[in-house]
Amino acid sequence: MPKLSAFIRSAALAAVLAGLANPAAAGDISSVAVPAIHGTTPVASIHPRPSQSVTGRSEPPRPVVAKRGPSPAGDSAAGKRLYWHGATASGAPLQAAIAGDAAVAGTQFGCVNCHRPSGFGSSEGGKYVPPITGPILFSPRQLNRNRIYTKLFEEAQPAGFAADVRMPRMRPAYTDQTLADALRKGVDPAGRKLDAQMPRYALSDRDAANLIAYLKTLSAAADPGVDAAVIHFATVVSDGTDPAERAAVVSTITAFFDWMNRATHGYQSRPGFSPYHMSELASAFRHWQLHVWELHGPPATWPQQIQRQYDAQPVFAVISGLVHGPWRPLAQFCDAKHMPCVFPNTELPRTTNTDYAYSLYFSRGLTLEGEVLARYLGRRQPQADRIALVHSTDPYGTTPARAFERALKTEQADARIREFAFSDQTELNAAVRELASAAGNFDALVLLPGERVNAALTALGEWRPGIKVIGLPSDALTSVQPGKLGTLAGSLLFAYPYELPSAYHPRSFRVRQWMHAQHLDIAYPRLQFQTYYALTMAEFALDQILDDFFRDYFIEAIEHEAENNLDIGTHPTLALGPGQRFASKGAYIVRIDAAAPGGIRALSDWIVP
């Protein structure tokens, strides 16, 4: 692993780790031989800021006093609702107080907001939130050098953060009683007062019991697909995909796995491997094992097929892939298994109920394209309000057509859409011919040819409907031959949910270099770059989670890493946030222009519908 090996060279790091290795010194800042960036004096005493009140309105929280005696048996499903949504058993809003302020009721202090779905915590905005998984809470706190290591050295954090993370804060294991006390009164079992940013909750006995029952299960059982030596990943490819594209995707994945495994093995067998700290980090190294899951037949049968593969060898996550047909059945599988499915190459992602779901996508695909076409036409001056919508009845045609209609209605309530659906070439030709003879009745034509891109372009070339604006999805752009369209070519515009060819992304150059070094033929740059991106997300996420191989934690790491300047140039920006599932959110409208770089020119700004 290139990154870890780079770190060993750092003398500063060795010094810090030496400090960490000695618990007595770990909290002692001055013992760490790292050059200070600025000459300030560290202050050792820590006491929470007393609650001050200008107005007299702020009161310290009034914790509900737990009645002693047998506590109710907890219901962990109810506890999970509390963890995620602040939902209490009685239905009353959860009451919490932060930073010594008056208590607030509401959902914003659901535990998930800070401790995340996995329970491993977070470090957003320079605030270190500790892990509260079952195994961690119910055992004595120890210094986990590895967890601390990534937090300290791989994240840019403000002053104070480092010391915050490195503080050993030893405490005994929690019991149900001490955990309830911590949640209500903010005191840990060692008697230490918790940071004021950890809310103090007014929990009923039942809610406390439910929550504790859930915390006991949180990231408690190992997730499948990992053993002491190997981490298993799958990728999916289906019938109906272009064999050359599919080969390009699979060969990129294979090359990446080989490269990762060479780096890991080369590193482990290097003489001198095993300085104290690195041997601990080595517990995070796994051989990456790839499984190519091939899917045949109709998409509705994919889940059973994939289940058989999964039963034969469970994988930790699915990375990339190329399928023909809607991703939805696979999305459902990933959700049912709580298994991350990371950046598949698909134009038909599932676009509903996606927050915190287990599939992560580049964009909303053809749904996005339909919406962006509607936004562009809907806001054009003079308005295009008489619109012909010609679409195929396969999912590649109906998906953007439905999205287009929906979005146009919100842009222009009075827009008139005349819809022509076709299921074969004869119907397609008839529709285009009819439009050509009635072109004067329409301000715009939106043609969503689904799987019949070439047939649609041929029909356009033959009948040449004299409509001033003809909108098409991006995949028509690769097949269009302007020479065969005459002046009509000037009327065509395309949704384009990608970066423009004229843009410069320094990283795309490095990805190319990497591919050349692996002797990969770059026949399908966008597809292969996207595949590479999916792979690097998995790599970086594993670097973050080290040997805490939990799938939710892995996804959280990807949400975080997606934005770290890793753009590969396929999209203007790729970024996720907590729970977000589409890394790129908009599209351009472009037209053909032989003189422009890449043969296209943008007619619009980046449109985010």
């Binding site: 500063a12 004096t41 957003e124 954090q157 985010v608």
Partner: protein, 218 residues
Amino acid sequence: MLAFATRSGPAFSAGHDGMGAMARPHHHDPGGEMAGMSDMSGTAAATKYTAARANYTVPAVTLTDAHGRPVRLAQLLSQPRPVLVQFIFTSCTTICPLLSTTFSQAQAELGRMHGDYQLISISIDPEYDTPERLAAYAKRYNAGAHWMFLTGQAGDVRSVMTAFDALYQGSNKMYHRPLFYLRARPDTPWLRIEGFMQTADLLREYHGVLGAAGLAVR
């Protein structure tokens, strides 16, 4: 910056912009430098923040509010009333709940102290934070009539963040910083506050900002 002060209970190392000094080594840069990665000063503190007076030039951008209406930021900020600004994003964890709760809890008291005022939360994740998402966020924090939520074109938001010296490390919004900006009138400087405040701290700072501008405070 005109003045710099640390406000915190325990004495604390201040005057340092921690984020700016740190660099995240790139994974694929073999031999990436470690220098500047280790900030060993400072220590954990419960609530601590730093405050500094500053002047900012607001760019001429048009943003969008939670109702989908265009808002010219410079015009909004040129109105003669106190403003309080923060940067948030709706899917943000950990820090935004704290930042927005502070605004939420301060609302009533801000109104009592001076009557007219404007709270502004600007999304730093504008492509995800559609007006609908902002409206839902506003509801979650019981936002009243004086609290406006803004999104916009990514480039425009970035120029606002640049103007307010609010950019974070490596362009990753997850490293975003807890910042508040307070100003009494268009002709007085901003008070820029970095760190976590209790509502009472915010109200005290606001009181000070209005007082320094000679505004009547109840």
